[in-house]
């Protein structure tokens, strides 16, 4: 793109923006420009599609994703439990290309130069942009668990907290485990990706054991002092469905592992499992956490909730698990999708020289399976609050299921199919 032209465009845009805010006007002008999106997961795929759809094709979008297909973390616990397959949770990027005109590049973004507004690709070459969106998800802080800080250990003690090869491998370990064995899942301190996810996994492995390996046990080693999501509903499922099979241990942070013996080393204790599944603490995906943009707690990106733009680095928008969450906001796929739409609307306004929508709303729902058919949900709605400059949970709205039920088992699959289509179809 010609630099001169873009400069003029930006200047004119800024002028129109100033006027728009002055007169409270935001006429429906057309945005133009090029947006690069890094990461084609829940946040990135959504923002790519919505930028193309809402601009009616006038904004160019390039999506850079390292994987050849999208593989969903939601529903992946059912693959681990053995009632769904990898095929069920895999979706192609073809519609983003052919139907929405997104340029999809399978590569790794290795560096962002925010001053020059360009990114570097691993296979070589740079892409320049008017605005960039980072939705890289998470990366694990393996250095916090020294024994796990090497490739061989990571192939044996799995996280399966990014869906893909690790999901398949964990399922294989469970299938290979003799009856009478123990599966332990270790949860890091909050905040972590998908608060109810580890408890859902424990339930689905216990359900599999009950049906196929009835002498086997599930142990949850939780670094937190209590169940982090849907506590009453999960505890009731454990008592009703998995008494004698599933054991919950709070305040059990894994400090290290002994890989040879599959042993989790806690502060005062040790725990040896046949299949040890450690979810290490994580932070914003490295392209976000290592690009010099402002972080909170050295882990999550500080963003402006009107635009999802970094508070330190103009032109860089960040979505999904990588951001420092607003109050009570979970790191979920549902929420990353909502971030994607908030950002798409804001970016189109900004590219057209207008202020972002001053009253954004996002909402969340996490469905969790407690067995192959019964599901529980937690939902919340978050409205922008000008006083705190945060999206705040609406009091009296949202909540949890009255009880686990099969109807929501169907709704959970309906949610999955619709959100995958909303991102990728």
């Amino acid at each position: 793109m010609m630099l001169m032209k873009r400069r003029e465009f930006l200047k004119a845009g800024a002028a129109a923006g100033a006027m728009a805010s002055l007169y409270g006007c935001a006429a429906g002008s057309k945005a133009g420009g090029h947006v690069v999106v890094v990461g084609g997961g829940y946040g990135g795929a959504t923002v790519a599609k919505y930028l193309r759809m809402w601009s009616q094709g006038s904004v160019q979008v390039t999506l850079v994703e390292r994987n050849p297909t999208f593989i969903s973390c939601p529903i992946s616990n059912l693959v681990i439990g053995g009632t769904k397959t990898m095929e069920d949770i895999t979706v192609s990027y073809d519609n983003l290309k052919s139907k929405w005109g997104v340029r999809v590049i399978q590569d790794d973004v290795v560096a962002v130069d925010a001053a020059k507004r360009s990114v570097r690709l691993a296979k070589g070459g740079d892409l320049s942009y008017d605005r960039i969106v980072l939705s890289p998800g998470i990366d694990f802080m393996f250095d916090q668990i020294p024994g796990l800080n090497n490739a061989a250990a990571q192939e044996k003690i799995l996280h399966a907290w990014k869906a893909g090869a690790q999901t398949v491998a964990l399922r294989k370990q469970l299938e290979a485990m003799p009856d009478g064995g123990t599966f332990a899942v270790a949860i890091p301190k909050a905040p972590y990706r998908c608060p109810p996810g580890p408890y859902e996994r424990a339930c689905l492995v216990a359900d599999y054991f009950k049906k196929s390996k009835p002498k086997s046990k599930v142990v949850i080693l939780d670094a937190n002092e209590d169940v982090q999501s849907k506590k009453g509903l999960f505890m009731k499922a454990w008592a009703d469905l998995y008494k004698g099979t599933l054991e919950y241990r709070p305040n059990s942070e894994v400090k290290d592992v002994d890989v040879a013996t599959n042993t989790a080393i806690l502060e005062f204790d040790k725990f040896k499992a046949d299949v040890l599944n450690v979810i290490p603490p994580h932070r914003a995906g490295s392209i976000a956490s290592q690009s010099g943009i402002k972080l909170i707690n050295n882990r999550w990106v500080d963003i402006n909730w009107l635009s999802m733009e970094s508070t330190s680095t103009p032109g860089v928008h960040v979505l999904g698990d990588a951001v420092f969450p607003a109050p009570t906001m979970p790191k979920s796929g549902h929420m990353a999708n909502q971030h994607g739409k908030l950002a798409a609307a804001a970016i189109l306004n900004l590219l057209a020289g207008q202020e972002p929508n001053p009253a954004p709303v996002v909402m969340n729902t996490c469905y969790s399976f407690v067995d192959a058919k019964n599901v529980i949900h937690v939902a919340s709605v978050h409205q922008y609050d000008a006083a705190t400059k945060l999206v705040q949970p609406v009091k009296g709205a949202g909540g949890i299921s009255a009880a686990r039920n099969e109807l929501e088992g169907k709704a959970a699959m309906g949610w999955a199919k619709n959100i995958w289509a909303d991102m990728l179809a």
Binding site: A12, G24, A26, G353, N357, A359, W415, I419, D422
Partner: protein, 101 residues
């Protein structure tokens, strides 16, 4: 350049007649928060068990949403979601879905 100057002019004109600061795409943006379950623009994936909202009449949608809010219409989740939106926001959402063909 030309396009943006025109926009600015249009802005001034609009500013002369209205004084509100709402984004003209507010209805679109709010309705998009429902798409995770009810499909992009309210067109749900066929056979996935979620209701399509596209093309429903505004009055019918608003009545259902009011009944979810009040608890008159039994629901697994919509009573909790609808309470998160003001009546004005629900009206914008219903108008947007009603206009989808």
């Amino acid at each position: 350049m030309k396009k943006l100057t025109q926009v600015a002019a249009a802005c001034l004109l609009a500013a002369a007649s209205t004084a509100h600061a709402a984004d003209p795409n507010l209805g679109r943006n709010l309705a998009a928060t429902c798409a995770n379950c009810h499909g992009t623009n309210g067109k749900a994936v066929p056979g996935a068990g979620m209701d399509s909202l596209a093309g429903e009449s505004k009055a019918k949608l608003l009545q259902k949403l009011a009944d979810f809010k009040s608890g008159d219409k039994p629901a697994s989740i919509m009573h909790q979601i609808s309470k998160g939106y003001s009546d004005e926001q629900l009206a914008l959402i219903a108008e947007y879905f009603a206009a989808q063909k």
